[in-house]
């Protein structure tokens, strides 16, 4: 039984498995970006290509981020990562023990430095190295007396830390996938809403109530004269059981309330509810009337029926326009350019004001894993920087006869050149 466990562990902790899994995952990731990313593989079935459908269904290529197969690969990868880290653990502990031991020295693997300091400078050198954070100890090996200076004793931990942080990220992602949900809420200006659309399967939504109510006081789309939007702002009020909160949500400036994140996603002009203030005159301009009318509503002017059939937000870069059915003729009126109009209709339409209520669409995410993922990523970054800069280095000074310096690691080299320059300067002074 133990043997079986050992063998399974061996398989899971093998680098070959890592490489195979990595290649599979890379293929999945890259191929999936070229395929249409919807749950639309059903269309292949409709197109009478059942084989392709089955292939995509089993491999989950069109929807890899929600497919069982891919989750399986990722789980295997995680186990592999854990097993590999566990496998390395004893070696890391061993190396730290060795680094900590004040008597450990391996002269064979160390380089002899060309700089040989004067015998009197022994105290100076240890002082300098002590100030630079080295641990100093003394020992004897093969009949020679050595002063051992070490730094970065716990450096091997940083490798472990890198992999632990990757595991923390994966844990966070798992929490996100298991307990998180996404959806959107649609708010109409001036109305209160507590139902939102929650995504159940990709692209499919159900209507669910929130534990509190939302009111959209106003939505503003701030634009420049060129028509470019510079800001979308939803001014909202939240009504909770015994709490009322008024706040604004903007792009890149979301609201987090009771762990749920609300992000300004998009907006829609609710043209069906638009109200137009028009001033209508006859050709000569003698008879004039002001009317307020909604889209598809009817009014009367000079005995003929008048109806707004269409509303355009921007026509050929000349701004808002409406299409009016007046008797048998059609009039297109531009808000900013009233002079361009159909002359045969016998009337002139001036648009004084257009009030279009907006619907603001907020994206809703509840994702309890986010903080864990960010923590893991931050830790990953720190430990990667540690891997580069926090390295074990050792300088050994043989004190028998002449002083001789042995070292290991590139960084120790720079410390030694510093000592060389300092002691040379010191000896010149003397």
């Amino acid at each position: 039984m133990n043997k079986l466990i050992d063998r399974v562990f061996d398989i899971f902790s093998s680098l070959r498995l890592t490489v195979i899994l990595l290649i599979i995952i890379l293929i999945y990731l890259s191929v999936s970006t070229f395929l249409p990313q919807e749950s639309s593989y059903l269309k292949y079935l409709a197109e009478n290509r059942p084989l392709l459908f089955l292939l995509l269904r089993i491999t989950g290529l069109t929807n890899p981020y929600h497919s069982f197969t891919v989750i399986l690969w990722l789980f295997l990868f995680t186990f592999n990562l854990i097993a590999c880290s566990l496998n390395r653990l004893p070696a890391i502990v061993e190396r730290i023990k060795r680094n900590r031991s004040p008597v450990y020295i391996s002269t064979e693997s160390m380089t002899k430095h060309s700089f040989s300091p004067p015998a009197a400078s022994k105290g100076d050198i240890t002082e300098i190295l002590k100030n630079r954070g080295y641990n100093i100890s003394e020992t004897e090996k093969d009949g020679n007396q050595y002063i051992i200076c070490k730094k970065g004793i716990y450096a091997p931990v940083s490798f472990l830390l890198v992999h632990i942080s990757v595991l923390i990220i994966i844990a966070g992602i798992t929490v996100s996938a298991l307990f998180g949900y996404e959806g959107f809420i649609r708010l109409t200006e001036g109305k209160t809403e507590n139902l939102y659309y929650r995504e159940v399967i990709r692209g499919n939504y159900i209507k669910v109530p929130l534990p509190f109510r939302f009111r959209l006081n106003s939505f503003s789309n701030i634009t420049l004269s060129t028509g470019q939007s510079v800001e979308y702002i939803s001014d909202i009020t939240i009504y909770d059981t015994n709490n009322e909160l008024r706040t604004r949500i903007r792009v890149n400036d979301p609201l987090e309330y009771k762990g749920i994140l609300f992000v300004q996603s998009s907006y829609e002009a609710n043209t069906d509810e638009a109200v137009f203030s028009l001033r209508i005159t006859d050709d000569s301009g003698e008879k004039s009337e002001n009317i307020k009318i909604g889209l598809k509503d009817q009014a009367e002017f000079m005995g003929k029926r008048l109806k707004i059939t269409d509303f355009f937000e921007n026509v050929h870069n000349m701004g808002e326009a409406i299409k009016i059915q007046y008797g048998d003729t059609t009039v297109v009126a531009l808000k900013n350019r009233p002079e361009i109009q159909n002359e045969e209709s016998g009337i002139r339409v001036y648009i004084e004001d257009i009030k279009v209520p907006y619907d603001s669409i907020l994206r809703i995410t509840y994702d309890p894993g986010t903080k864990t993922v960010f923590l893991g990523s931050f830790l990953l970054l720190i430990s990667l920087i540690l891997v580069i800069f926090y390295k074990f280095r050792m300088i050994a000074i043989r004190t028998s006869n002449n002083l001789e310096i042995l070292y290991s690691g590139k960084r120790a080299e720079s410390d030694i050149s510093l000592i060389a320059s300092l002691t040379e300067a010191g000896s010149k002074e003397k």
Partner: protein
Amino acid sequence: MISSNIFFASFILYFIAFFLYIIGLSKENKEYMQGFRFSVIAFIVHTAGLFVRYYEAGIVELKAFEESTGHIATGSERIRIMLSHPPFTNLYESMIFVLWGIAIVYIVINRRFHLNITGLLGSALIVIGMGLSNLLPDKSITPLIPALKSWWLHLHVITASLAYGAFLIAAVVALLYLIRENISPDRIFTVFLFTTSVLVLMMVSFNPLQYGATLLGVAENGKLRPAVISVILDNQTNPLSIVLKRPSPLIGMVSLITIIFSLAGGTILVIKKLPARTAGLVSSAILLIYLISLLLSVSSQDIGTDKRELADLINYSLSSAGINPSDITNMNFNILPPYRINLSSFPYQFSIILMLFLVSLFFLYLTIRYDSFINRLPLSPVLDTISYRTILFAFPMMTFVILTGAVWAHFAWGRYWGWDPKETWSLITWLVYAFYLHSRHTLRWSGKRAAIIAVIGFAVVIFTYIGVNLGLTGSGLHVYGSK
């Protein structure tokens, strides 16, 4: 725009540096530093240009603020607005900024390892890149769209261009390693010819006869701006901007011929064991013909005045953007016809071809003066170490890029990761380099294998940077400027 002129000045300085490096090639003295000095000057001018552009963008942002709110910003708010628009928010600026990252890395490596050859190749790349960015149709500064108004943008892009620059230089050094290790230029050249074919294929969107689309521009006050239509789809409110394109069967045909010749050339090279010199000559000649025919086929012509032609044009542009005309509820022309095509109509095609042309010239040079070139390179273990250490520094930076991207996505879109093509490809890049580092540490792969991974890794980086924006993958949220 003053900044564009400063960038042009730095372009000339890089060019001078490039020439000095070439002169340095023929000198035996390893301490030759003129190219390096001019690179530093060019880099300082380049940096100054970026600051000026930052300032200019700040002014644009300030004006937009005053127009939209109606009051004048003062004090700390003024400073906040001035700093809010960094100089890397459209394709033109992004290219200039990535080149800046490349410049830092090559200058540091040139200085630290006395490696003039990275200076030579680095400055050559920057000269090409700057020349190409100058061809891009849209160089103007417009106020930031709401989605880009985030401080995370600054951190995200600055580290990204440094990381990309480092990956590039690491790949260049790895290539030098491969050359140094006596892998015959013939073999590298064959690989190059095959890569050419793939790149050209990519460029014509894997459909050479129909595509090879050219972007259309419109002349305004003597300057060319991209011709754009904005469409609103059913069940959506935000208008989509679509740059007008025209199918160019001629370019498609010539591309196809180039591909066939490159493939044939590569195959003959393998079978007949022809010297790379002959093949280099043939292939650079083909590429030159291609360049000329591209130039001829776009000698300024106006199109789109005819209604049917215009309708065809719009249909084609919509279908290549993946939009079904029946879904459209509203369509606007931001700029009215006639539209015009010229050189800047296909910056990508042009840049790839130009790059290939120069690379084939380099191989030509390499085969003629192979020995003297090899002798001037540092020893191969040195090249190996340089490549490795550059990647070691770039890897945490890439991690930081993904981390800041995730935090930003959390605030902007409500989720830290959404499998957007750019996100996915940055993860792929990260995994490839993670594999590089692991294979070095645990499998003890170094030298040839490591160099090959470094080169492949950079191909992935290129795809992440440009391929996704070219629309080779599904549409994503990072597509800016190019579509």
